[in-house]
């Protein structure tokens, strides 16, 4: 089966896939064997965007990408990062009440899951972690906060994430970590990158 490759402007190609598992598998594959002239590669929720240096490179890359196939989805092979978590978030009580479970139940469901970084976006180092317990799926807050503190651990929809630095945000805050998600003096500055595995480890004050 050939891949669905859409010309995305003159210098990029958008490959639509079923979900983030397929996107990650394809992203890894293209990173290992990039088409000539590739300048960037963006893995996202159900697509991979291949950005090329010019129109000629894009035209040449389209047929070769179309003829590729999605490699077998290989879960749980990325490096594992453990994130120490204090579950003291401003929305924890409200999340528990809305979901009709105890705070302890919310925390247990959040910390016993192993997550995978599907993609990074919104802000530098902001990793969308997939694998959230479906019982914890909730929409964003109706009114976003103008200020979410650095290190906030939050959920929205099917994702959980850690805010790498203070920013506005509409996700529901469950807790925080002191682990630095973004540090320009580190190489690479983003702690989490697509394909990495993440576990939250509860620490008590």
């Amino acid at each position: 089966m050939s891949l669905r490759v859409l010309p995305y402007g003159e210098r990029a190609l958008l490959i639509e896939v079923a979900d983030h598992h397929e996107a990650l598998a394809l992203y890894d594959d293209i990173r290992r064997e990039p088409p000539a002239g590739m300048v960037d590669l963006v893995s996202a929720a159900a697509s991979v965007l291949v950005v090329l240096d010019d129109e000629e490179s894009a035209a040449a890359a389209a047929p070769t990408l179309r003829s590729r196939s999605i490699p077998p989805v290989d879960r749980g092979v990325g490096a594992l990062v453990e994130v120490p978590a204090r579950y003291d978030g401003a929305d924890l009580d409200e999340v528990a009440a809305t979901l009709g479970m105890s705070v302890e139940e919310v925390v247990r469901r959040h910390e016993t899951t192993e997550y995978v970084v599907a993609f990074v976006g919104f802000a530098p180092g902001f990793a969308y972690l997939t694998g959230l317990d479906p019982a914890l799926h909730m929409p964003r807050r109706d009114v976003p906060r103008t200020r979410v503190p650095t290190g906030s651990i939050a959920i929205a929809g099917e994702y959980t994430a850690v805010y790498p630095r203070e920013s506005p945000g509409g996700w529901r805050l469950l807790g925080h970590t002191t682990l630095e998600m973004w540090d320009l003096d580190r190489e690479p500055p983003a702690l989490l990158q697509p394909g990495m595995r993440v576990r939250f480890r509860r620490v008590t004050p």
Partner: protein, 286 residues
């Protein structure tokens, strides 16, 4: 000659350091950034004999005054602004000599939005993640310039100052036509969605290096939900539920979730970068 500095006496409404940006870092969530009007930036560097990708200043709506510690060649391109070097009016789009201790003033451009000031040798602030560009979305790179700030001049030259007085350039159109390559993904827009483009759009005041909001006919969507987040480029035309298009520029977020009508063609991106708030432009699907 190397060394020397320029002091920002007045930065104008917004002056940032820019080069070709930092593409290739989407996996870290970092936007490509870089000069919005890339050909104008590159021309300024060529005029003063700089190595490509040397940092210059992107001056938004003029108003910059800078004092040079030593004599220096500079060039101003992009939005055609009056240039005064040590009290003498000079032509933009050509090499300009600034004597030691002299002030360079870039006035408000008659048309366009962003002028580029290249200094022979380049602006030598420390690079961040391989670029000296200010990314206004993420705060990566040097902060927007402030009065009193002193910038080092580098020595990144590739050849002599261009032996010409000025480069002839076509004036910026009053109502630019922005060509868009449609994204052929069925299902997201109404059959008659493109009819909205028959009239021109007004550039909203809510426009910056991240994106440009347009005001005009509503582009009818076929559905109201959002897409799963997907990668974007400079020139992506998004249509939020309001039906008023948003076009991403250099500091765009790496991903976004509104339906995409199309992507601005490369040859129209510089015109887009020069469109002022309040100005009208036409979107044409080609």
């Amino acid at each position: 000659m190397t060394g020397g500095t320029l002091e920002i006496v007045r930065p104008g409404p917004l002056t940032t350091v820019q080069d070709n940006g930092r593409p290739g870092l989407a996996r870290l969530g970092v936007s490509p950034s870089g000069a919005c009007d890339r050909p104008a930036y590159q021309l300024a560097n060529r005029l003063v004999g700089n190595t490509p990708n040397v940092a210059a200043l992107e001056v938004t709506l003029g108003g910059l005054v800078a004092r040079f510690s030593r004599s220096c060649w500079v060039a101003v391109t992009g939005a055609p602004a009056p240039v005064v070097s040590a009290g003498r009016a000079c032509a933009p789009y050509g090499p300009v000599f600034v004597p030691a201790g002299g002030e360079l003033k870039i006035g408000v451009p008659a048309a366009g939005l962003r002028s580029y000031l290249a200094v022979r040798g380049g602006i030598a602030v420390p690079p961040v993640l391989g670029s000296r560009s200010t990314d206004t979305l993420t705060g990566i790179g040097p902060a927007p310039l402030q009065a009193g700030q002193i910038l080092p001049i580098g020595d990144a030259t590739a050849g002599p100052v261009a032996p010409i007085d000025l480069v002839p350039l076509a004036p910026l159109p009053q109502e630019p036509v922005i060509e868009i390559q449609p994204l052929r993904r069925p299902g997201w827009f109404a059959d008659n969605a493109l009819d909205a483009l028959r009239d021109s759009y007004r550039v909203s005041p809510d426009t910056n290096r991240i994106g440009m909001r347009l005001q005009g006919n509503v582009i009818e969507r076929a559905r109201e939900d959002e897409l799963p987040s997907e990668g974007h480029v400079a020139g992506t035309v998004q249509v939020p539920p309001s039906g008023q298009p948003v076009i991403f520029l250099a500091d765009h977020p790496v991903t976004g979730g509104y339906p995409v009508l199309g992507i601005v063609r490369a040859r129209s991106l510089p015109l887009l970068a020069q469109a002022r708030p309040g100005q009208r432009l036409r979107l044409r699907v080609t």
